[in-house]
């Protein structure tokens, strides 16, 4: 918690407490094991050096065992549920259709990107995003096509987690969210708020749209499928027994860069 700034700290504490409650408590007594031949003391003085030198890929992760269990759950969910659905989706749709589906949801994503660019005071991101949204929603037929990219307006990506980061909120503890995957307390909070905002926005749609079965299929079926379709990452494809640690370090680093940019 030491990384957190004061403002959202209360909410953060609450979430932490909740998570702490469901993490597996310390087992009675860890079985005594024989020390391996090679140990860290042979390479660095672990008492003198900071933890970040001892393990350069270390990330603040107090709920590691729970996170690891969820990581495994996610990998299995991918194997047995998510990827088979995505594969079926790929099998029944031609690529241009899938591209348009992705464009459509990406176009909706311009709204939070715009809002968060404004919140971060980044005009250089807010204005092209606004222009992209206007262009793609009209000439691009409700976002099914992406003419904006063809004229060199690249898609930006900002979310509330990044905005909080820009405001100085630290990462907080690393979290692996069920199905959604690697995150941290700040970004998970941001994702939660973004999701609530979206739900409220969707509520504003006319009821004859929301009552249409097609609406449910698009929002609760197609959207999550497209989200997974767009991420090429596969669990355990690194070939490393340390994949959890490597992903944790990479994701944390990547988010810091995203926040800076």
């Amino acid at each position: 918690m030491k990384h957190m700034a004061s403002r959202p700290a209360c909410a953060a504490c609450l979430v932490t407490a909740l998570l702490g409650g469901c993490s597996t408590g310390p087992a009675a007594d860890p079985p005594v094991t024989t020390p391996p031949r090679r140990q860290i003391e042979q390479f660095v003085d672990a008492r003198e050096q900071p933890a970040t030198v001892v393990n350069p890929l270390a990330v603040y992760d107090p709920f590691e065992q729970t996170n690891r269990a969820i990581y495994k759950f996610n990998a299995k969910f991918d194997d047995y549920v998510y990827l088979p659905i995505v594969d079926a989706y790929v099998a029944v749709t031609p690529e241009p259709v899938r591209d348009s589906v992705s464009n459509f949801f990406d176009n909706l994503g311009e709204i939070p990107t715009f809002a968060n660019s404004v919140l971060q005071g980044k005009v250089e991101k807010a204005s092209p995003t606004l222009f992209r949204f206007m262009l793609n929603s009209t000439i691009g037929l409700f976002g099914l096509f992406d003419p904006a990219s063809h004229i060199g307006l690249k898609r930006q990506d900002e979310d509330l987690g990044q905005t909080l980061g820009v405001w100085g909120v630290g990462d907080g503890p690393y979290l692996v969210l069920p199905i959604l995957g690697p995150s941290n307390l700040r970004d998970a909070t941001g994702t939660g708020v973004d999701f609530v905002a979206l739900t409220v926005a969707l509520e504003a749609l006319p009821s004859d749209v929301r009552d249409d079965i097609l609406y449910d299929i698009v929002v609760w079926g197609l959207w999550p499928i497209d989200q997974r379709y767009q991420v090429p990452l596969r669990y355990h494809s690194t070939g490393s027994p340390f994949e959890y640690d490597l992903v944790r370090s990479f994701v944390t680093k990547a988010r810091r860069i995203q926040i800076q940019n």
Binding site: T33, P35, P36, R38, F43, L57, A58, G239
Partner: protein, 425 residues
């Protein structure tokens, strides 16, 4: 150049000049081997393969009785990929490089090239890859030529039998890159010495090390070029790299890997030093070593970095063990594990070093008119003098490009053209 060398070889002519396709000129742009190795081939110079057959991933269970620790729950068999033809065709076995599996970038590229050329292709993970160690290695200790070769042949025989009813095979070929090329040479020899041989027709070694030991020395040294304090300074190095990346892309999102020229773009913007590039390559190898050492240790219950009497589970925090494993080099593995395991009264440490070199089987290799070498004169894994020895062994059966670093030019249309002709003509 390729045409000249191939045309010049008339003895057994495994590669007749039937293909009418002209070989595109070799104009790979990077003379700096570090840049070549890291950045690879710019998209406009890559070979183009029209077919869109996706490799099919399959599983092979070789040791059904083996207990696999829960921490490796996702390895319930050796993963391999196939790209098959509908009619009769040659079958190429491809062996991955250090730490590579069947879905590694270079493996998929080789699969596409060979499949487009008309062959059935089977992509096999490197014996140094965790998946292979856990599911296909007989003793969990990769790196010993004869031993790895017999593990690989066990895999190939099993796959050959399994595919027998599914496809028609006109002949068997073999290829490998980097460490996989070294493996391929020993596999070809081991196969030739067996009674139930597969009988490889064409064998292509892409960027092999000559001596595993000498290449290990080269690779271990790379890491320190931009990282003088070793792994202790890794966090600082990564932070610097992150800051540079962030700065270079100050007006946009830098982590958009969808662009196929992402690496080239990042390189042009960041202009990294040779030292940083060498460290990047060294780090990639170091991560492979780390995975290899840990996996081998856990599977063999050797108690080297992980307590031999501790359970390896998916929920086991590994930070402390990773901190140790990432500080161990290939040389540590060699000295602490390999020599201890493989040296005995009749085989000394020096014997192990000598036997890890293609020179050890040079007499046999030089007589095999079907085994070809493809490499680059600036390959960074070769020690001084290694290239000359390699060319000396393979003579007119060597194809040496003037640049390309280590595997950097594999996607170049001239190189892909050579590979296509090698396996199809």
């Amino acid at each position: 150049m390729a045409g000249l060398l191939l045309g010049g070889c008339t003895t057994s002519a495994p590669v007749p000049e039937r293909s009418a396709l002209p070989v595109p000129p070799y104009d790979f742009p990077f003379d700096n081997p570090w840049v070549a190795t890291v950045v690879g081939t710019p998209s406009e110079q890559r070979g183009v393969f029209p077919i869109r057959t996706a490799p099919q991933r399959r599983k092979l269970v070789l040791f059904p009785e083996r207990t696999i620790p829960e921490g490796f729950w996702y390895y319930d068999g050796m993963d391999y990929s196939v790209l098959l033809q509908s009619g009769p065709a040659p079958l190429v076995f491809v062996i991955g490089g250090t730490g590579a599996d069947d879905r590694s970038r270079l493996m998929l590229l080789l699969g596409r090239i060979m499949h487009a050329g008309g062959s059935h292709v089977i992509l096999i993970p490197s014996p140094s890859h965790a998946n292979f160690i856990v599911t296909a290695s007989s003793n969990f200790l990769p790196g010993r030529a004869g031993h790895d070769a017999s593990d690989l042949l066990r895999v190939m025989h099993a796959l050959k039998d399994r595919l027998a009813g599914e496809i028609q095979v006109t002949r068997y070929d073999l290829a490998g890159y980097s460490l996989g090329a070294w493996h391929a040479a020993f596999v070809a020899k081991a196969d030739a010495e067996r009674e139930d041989r597969i009988g490889f027709d064409r064998v292509l070694l892409l960027n092999p090390p000559l001596s595993l030991y000498r290449s290990i020395e080269e690779i271990d040294a790379m890491l320190y070029k931009g990282l003088p304090n070793g792994i202790d300074g890794l966090r600082y190095f990564l932070n610097q790299a992150g800051a540079r990346l962030s700065h270079a892309y100050s007006t946009s999102d830098p982590l958009d890997f969808s662009d196929q020229d992402f690496l080239f773009e990042a390189y042009s913007r960041m202009q990294p030093s040779d030292e940083s590039l060498a460290t990047t390559v060294g780090l990639a190898f170091r991560f492979s070593t780390m995975n290899l050492i840990f996996t081998s240790d856990v599977m063999g219950h050797a108690g080297y970095v992980f307590p031999f009497d501790k359970q390896f589970r998916s929920t086991t925090p590994l930070g402390d063990y990773m901190a140790v494993a990432m500080r161990l080099s290939f040389m540590d593995y060699f000295n602490d594990i390999y020599v201890e395991q493989y040296a005995n009264e009749t085989v000394s440490r020096q014997d192990l070093i000598d036997q890890s070199s293609l020179e050890y089987i040079r007499g046999w290799l030089s007589r095999q008119t079907n085994i070809y070498l493809l490499t680059n004169s600036d390959d960074i894994i070769l020690a001084k003098g290694d290239l000359e020895i390699l060319v000396n062994i393979f003579q007119e059966r060597s194809q040496v490009y003037p640049n390309g670093g280590h595997m950097g030019n594999l996607a170049h249309r001239s190189v892909t053209g050579y590979i296509t002709r090698f396996f199809t003509a």
